[in-house]
Symmetry: C2
Subunit: 209 residues, 2 copies
DNA sequence: TAGATTGTTAATCGATTAACAATC
DNA sequence: TAGATTGTTAATCGATTAACAATC
């Protein structure tokens, strides 16, 4: 596997490839050509070959790609067998739904703690984890060393809390608050999810016609 | 407002501009230069000027952009004052959270019905709407003509249900099922949201270093 | 007027597509 | 071997950046 730098657009396509290859595997398809896969995924065959070549020639001329092997390679690149420890902060509607709905394990992560500032929630269970009060955050982080946090908190609290978490050693954020985190330290990874932006884009496309 | 075609990358940036301009307005900033805004948003000033010029010169040389006016223009383009009627299908964890958490009104949409196949949920309230059984979907659509649907259903049900909804007259989908909808009709708008892909990308970036 | 900052054109950069020789 | 399909280079396309004249 050549150690080239993989460009952002390619990385963002990897999870999608991984999903489609998983579907093919479930359909017991053993091999697939770039042309066929392109058709399924709505991409060009050329792009698929370019993408797969970023991490070494995994196809065979005249044959195509071995579905299972290719999926494993992509899974390895994405690190699906890892167990990045994560915490979730803000156990409101959305926080609980994410804790329950997203399969962290399948994606190389593990949710090890859930926190909420509302003391009434303390002790109640979500996704087989007890919700903990914010007062215990510091000691929990010192003890269990989570690497990243899911932020499901109001936007006004996000920036300050993120900075605090950075000081506690966290290096990644999956941010659902309606606020673009800006962390000065470039080593900190931020994945902002803006559901509202997504809905607005859909709404735009709907009247645009 | 010139009627040029606005490219997809620009459209996808509009909601973000809209948010930042909203923040500036809240901070009572009246005008802002492309340079200042660029700094705040982590973009280049050049890109901002290019983007804003897609829909007509709204700046003033030597002065910058009037925050309130610019925000209104972008809001108009995005159609925030519209009321696209939408339904939500699948009132599980995620469906309920989206119904409760996403502010449809602020984004030009209105959630007018929630459906779930579990008869036990029928009648219970979510986001001040009663959950309705799937049996009533047809007549509801005929009567209230929703234009788009939020799909919070398992991936195996997604494709079939989407096709049914198209036959009932819906033309847009905000799809949270772990499946890329493929609608043959190009007039149908699909916005696939893959939270899992987003998490995997974060996880990748975390070990990549 | 002088200073600032846009609107807009031209240059650059990067990503996608096309083409085809290599090879299974 | 012949057919298929990759790996890879070159061509194209589009988006971003740079530059600067226009103008408030």
């Amino acid at each position: 596997m050549s150690k080239e730098v993989i460009s952002t657009p390619v990385i963002r396509r990897l999870p999608r490839y991984y999903r489609f290859l998983g579907e093919l595997e479930r359909e017991q398809v053993e091999r697939i050509s770039s042309r066929e896969l392109a058709q399924r995924m709505g991409l060009s065959a050329s792009q698929i070959r370019q993408d797969f070549n970023c991490f070494g020639g995994f196809g065979q001329q005249g044959y195509g790609y071995h579905v299972k092997a290719l999926r494993e390679v992509i899974g390895e690149i994405l690190g699906v067998s890892g167990r990045t420890p994560m915490i979730l902060i803000g156990a409101g509607n959305l926080g609980k739904a994410i804790a329950a709905h997203v399969d962290f394990h399948k994606r190389g992560c593990e949710l090890i703690g859930i926190f909420d500032s509302n003391p009434l929630l303390a002790g109640t269970m979500t996704a087989s984890l007890p919700i903990m009060p914010m007062e215990t955050l510091d000691s929990f982080c010192q003890q269990h060393k989570p690497q990243a946090a899911v932020l499901c908190i109001p936007k006004d609290a996000a920036q300050q809390l993120a900075e605090k978490l950075v000081s506690l050693g966290l290096i990644g954020f999956w941010n659902f608050s309606h606020f673009d985190l800006r962390i000065s330290n470039p080593d900190i990874i931020v994945e902002n999810v803006h559901l509202g932006d997504s809905l607005m884009t859909l709404a735009y496309c709907l009247h645009d016609k």
